[in-house]
Every structure is written in C-alpha cells, then in structure tokens.
Amino acid sequence: MSIKAKQKKPFSLRFRLVVLAVLLLTISLGLVGLALDSAFHKSSEAGLQARMESFVYLVLAATEVSDDGILVSAEEPGDPLLNQPGSGIYASLIGERDRWTSASSLGINLPEPVQIQTGKTDFTTASDETGNYYTFRYGVSWELPQGQMLPVTVTIFVDPQELQPEFHAFRSGLWQSLALVGLILVLAQVILLALGLRPLRRISEDISGIESGRLERLEGSFPQELEPLKRNVNHLLDTEQANQSRYRNALDSLAHSIKTPLSVIRSSLPSDGTPKTVAMENAVADMQHLIATRLQRAATSARSSNATAVDVKTQLERLVASLKRVYSQDLINIDVMIEPELAFYGEQRDFLELAGNLLDNACKYGEGQVRISAQKLDSKDSRAGIRLQVDDNGPGIAGDEREELLQRGVRGDERVEGHGLGLAIVLEIVSAYHGEITIDQSELGGARLNVSLKTR
C-alpha cells in the first residue's frame, strides 16, 4: 500500500461546516432549553407559593380557638382539596397544646411540623429534608380572652406530584419546539452552504475548463474572497505560457543561429564531388536533420496540458492555400474532406507541422492529385483525438518499403530531404501524441498515410 493511500482524505468543506453547525446548534439550543426550563420551574414555584399562602388563609378562616387555647376546627376549610384524602395538598395547625391536620392527610405520613415565630413565613421546596413536600409555614398569634397570646403555626404541604403534569407538558413542548428550530436551522445552513459555496464550484468548473482547453484563463467575476485565487491562477497560467514561449524562443533562436553558419558552409562548398566535399555535405545534412527533429521533439514535449481547440478545417485551408502558392506551377489539386467543426485539442503548431509535412510530401511525390480527410478518433468524445488520412496519386510506396521508411524516420538517420525529414518530424509528433501511423495503398493510386493523434 502506498503512503498516499494511507493518508486520510480531508473532509469536505460542506461536511465540516454542517457538522460544526449541528454541534453548535445542539449546544446553544440545549443551553437555551435548560435556561427556559429553570425559569419555568422558578415561576411555577412562585405560583405554588402564592397558592399555598391562600390555603393558609382558608385554613385560618376555618379555625377557631377555644378560650383555653384549644384549636377547634369550626367548619371544613373552604377548598375540597383539603378534605379529599390523598389530594396532594395537606394542611396542619400546631398550637401550644394540640395540633390539627386536614382531612386530606388521612393515611398520609406527613413530616413532623415545626413551629416558627409569629409573623414569619417560610417556603421550602421539595427535598428529602422536608419529606419530599413543598412546605409553606406561617406563624400567627391568637389573642385569648385573658389577654394571653397563643402562637399557632399553619403548615401547608404540597406533594410535588401536583406540579409534575405541568412540568411534563412544558418540557415536552419546549424540547419539541427546540428540536424543530434546530432542524430548520440545519436545513437553512445546508441551503446557505449550497448558495455560499456556489462560486467555489464555479471556479473549480472553470479550472477544469482550462484543463480541457475550453477556456484559456479564469474570466468571469468571482466574490471578493475568491479574486486573489483567480488572480493567482491566471498569473500561474501566464507564467507557464511565458516560460513556454521563452523556451521555445530560446530553442528557435539557437536553431536560427546555427542554421545560418551551416548555410554559409554549404554554399561555400565547391561542387566538385570529391570525397572530402561529399563528407562535408553529409555532415551538414546530418546537422540539419538533427536540428529539425530535435527541435520538433523539444517543441512538442514543451506542449502544455491546457491546449485550446484548433479548428481543423481553418488550419487545413491555410495550409492548402500556402501549398497552392508554392506549387502553383504544378497545378496541384488538393481536396479537403473534413466534417465542419472538427477540432483538435492540441497545439496548433503541432497540427500545422504534421499536416503540413504530410501534404507537402503528397504534393512533392504525387502527380497533382492530393486528398486529405480527417475524423474524430472517438465519435462520442470530441476531445479524444483525431485521425488524418493523406492520399496522393503518385507512384506510392511498395509494401516492403513502408515499414523500413517508418523505421528510418524513427531512427532519424535519413539524409534525403523530403520524405525523410518531413516524415521524421511527423513521427516525432505522432509519438508525442501517443498516436499511430501506417502507410497504405491509396484509392487515388499512390500512397495513403494514416495518422492518429490522441489528445486525452
């Protein structure tokens, strides 16, 4: 297993943002829920306290004290809850010598009531200490006929069960609505992300457009945050292009400057045909051949990956017009059979070089009738590449010579200019595009060269 495969792929931006948003929402909505829950608790308890206070007054209103300080319940307290056993609300009175409990506490084991000072009130929430009851105590003094004061403590007990249904209803309502809010917020987040990340998707589509040659640079306007990225990508593209043309120009001027002295050598050679002159001639021809093929190889391998579409028909028409000009006295007829809008997704220079050499050879070795046709390599994928056929009506190339001719071209040791040099350049281009080349018999009578170029 490679190291690369072990490396974990970073999570997508969308995944990160959604997960973070869900986490954040859960925590914040949870805290909101807790705060609301406790506020509700407090306000319910405050309500309960007020209600218990009113029970105190009900109990007091129903209470009489005899002259000797005995608590007498004159009548039933005004609320049926105090008279219904197990109703959850219980009352007790403690005097100096006796005590009273409401009828509702029948069979209930209430905690021992405690006296408090006259005039004091005391509210405690349900806890183990208070026997798990809400307790409200109120200290009063009864004036006896003898002028004595009888301290009496009224205690109301409320079973917490009384409040449970209320809490339950509130809580389930609360959490349901919080969950709904959370869900809506997450959905909104997903939509926002889709909208917010759209420019990123567009920029990545544009970059793949550059890769496939549909675009040359990042045009279009992008959000402010992406402008630096766009600038940098364009800058990179420019630099690449500049580098490429610099290398090409350097190669070109090198070739230019070598070829001129070569021309001087060649034109200064006497045409006496002595072995010395012939050897010099051959050396110059070899150098010329090396420069031409190596230069082509360098220019082809410096080919950028982001080639734009070359319109095959337009470029072939340029070539045909040029060739007709050069071969004007030979009355050459060149048929171009190209489907319209056939495009070559490679370097225009390479295409011109390939088709130019093939056509030039056909004009040179044919008898005035040349035909070039081209198709897509894959009818479904216009970027896969193209296939070219060049036919002439010349003497053609015999079957056993075909392979040898291609081999010689590959070796690049052919001295004769013409098929040799032109074909060597064609072979360089075909191999740079991982294509194929074959030689056949043409229906026009001469040679047919089939070439395929792959641009994927």
């Binding site: 021309s263 340029r318 040029s322 050499n357």
Partner: protein, 227 residues
C-alpha cells in the same frame, strides 16, 4: 534580372550574392529590414530574397509592407525557422516560396529561376520563340540543334525581354534590371548589347524578333511559347 537579398548574416549575404551573380543575376544586398524595405520600394526589382529574422524590421513586416505598396515581384523567404506555422504565416504575408536554411546552392538557384519564370507566366523552363529554343535553367539558346553562344549581358537582355513579352522595355529599364544599383551605367551599352543579340539570334534579319520603337525602347514581337 535584378534580385534583392536581405540577409543580416554578412557571411551568408556574401555567399548568396556570389551564387546569384554567378548565375547571371544583378544582385543588391541589404543587412537589415528597414534598408531592405527601402530598396524593395525604390529599386526596379525582379525578385527579393528575404530572411525572416532581420534586425530593424522583421522579415514578415518587410513582406507585408511591400505587398501593401503593391510591389508585385516574387518574394522568396529564407528562414531558419522551418515550422509550417512560420511558413504559412510567411506565405500569408505575401511571399511566394520559402527556402529553409541550410539550403543547397543548387536548390536556391532552382527556386529563384522557377519564381522568375512563374512571374513571367512560364511554368516550364523551356520556351520557344519562332525557331529559337531557350532553356531558362541552363541559360542556353538553341536554333534547331545548334547552340547560339551569348555573353552574360546579351543573355540578360534577352532573358528580360522574354520575361516581359509584348511590353515596351526602355533602355533605362533594361539597364536597371541587368545592373546593380551602384554599377556604372551607360544606356549606349544597351544599344550595343541589343545589336549584338539581334545579329546572333537572327543573323539574316528575317524574323526580327526584337522591334525598336524609336525614342521609346524595345519590344519582343510574337510572344514566346512554352514547349
């Protein structure tokens, strides 16, 4: 026939001029684009050989400017850049042919001869004028089986008239096209050349192929045919 060579490499310029002069052409040379363009505009040229990589003004621009100014003489591009892209651009700019460096002197002469014939409307290098046969490649003139010996200047005059049939050619035009710019010209010499040429190609004065139009110049009667 007068040829302009615009080539910045002095070594190559010298050997080009040598090859062409040996072949019987009058040759003017220039080493940069601006001067080359000026010569092309001012001199009565029959052909120009222009290198593409020139100082001053690029060769392509020289060709474009000459064509814009309706200078119609054939132009042969001399280039080290053998790419078809460059060839096509050169031909689209108005050149008629190209020759890639390093070239064979023989190929240069063949291309120059072919361009000159083509511009005169002759596709073939062999033409006939009455009983005369003229081989424009070997620059020899035959009457039947016999070769007529002409001097270089006699041939130059004859060739120019052959390339401009049915046109009146003045003595000064003839001297401009057979001599280079800085040569010492004398239009009386032209009369001498034409007189000797007439005696050699038509000793009996029967055919009289070259008419004299008094005060105007010479004209080739009966346009030559290609064989």
């Amino acid at each position: 026939m007068r040829i302009l060579v615009v080539e910045d490499d002095s070594g190559l310029q010298t050997s080009l001029a040598e090859i062409l002069r040996e072949a019987g052409y009058a040759v003017d040379v220039s080493g940069d684009g601006i001067e080359g363009l000026f010569f092309g505009q001012e001199y009565p040229l029959d052909l120009a050989i222009i290198d593409l990589g020139l100082p001053g003004l690029p060769g392509l621009d020289v060709i474009r400017k000459l064509r814009e100014q309706e200078r119609q003489f054939p132009i042969l591009i001399l280039t080290a850049r053998a790419d078809w892209q460059d060839k096509v651009e050169g031909l689209e700019a108005g050149a008629d042919d190209y020759l890639t460096k390093p070239f064979h002197p023989e190929e240069l002469k063949a291309r120059v001869g072919a361009l000159l014939r083509r511009s005169a409307g002759h596709a073939q290098p062999l033409i006939e004028l009455g009983p005369l046969k003229i081989d424009l490649v070997s620059q020899r003139v035959f009457k039947g089986e016999d070769e007529i010996e002409l001097t270089t200047y006699e041939y130059k005059v004859f060739e120019y008239l052959l390339m401009h049939p049915d046109k009146v050619v003045t003595k000064s035009v003839l001297s401009e096209h057979i001599y280079e710019e800085d040569a010492d010209r004398d239009s009386n010499v032209i009369e001498v050349f034409v007189g000797r040429l007439r005696r050699k190609i038509d000793p009996g004065g029967v055919m009289n192929p070259i008419e004299t139009l008094r005060g105007r110049g010479y004209r080739l009667k009966n346009p030559p045919r290609e064989t």
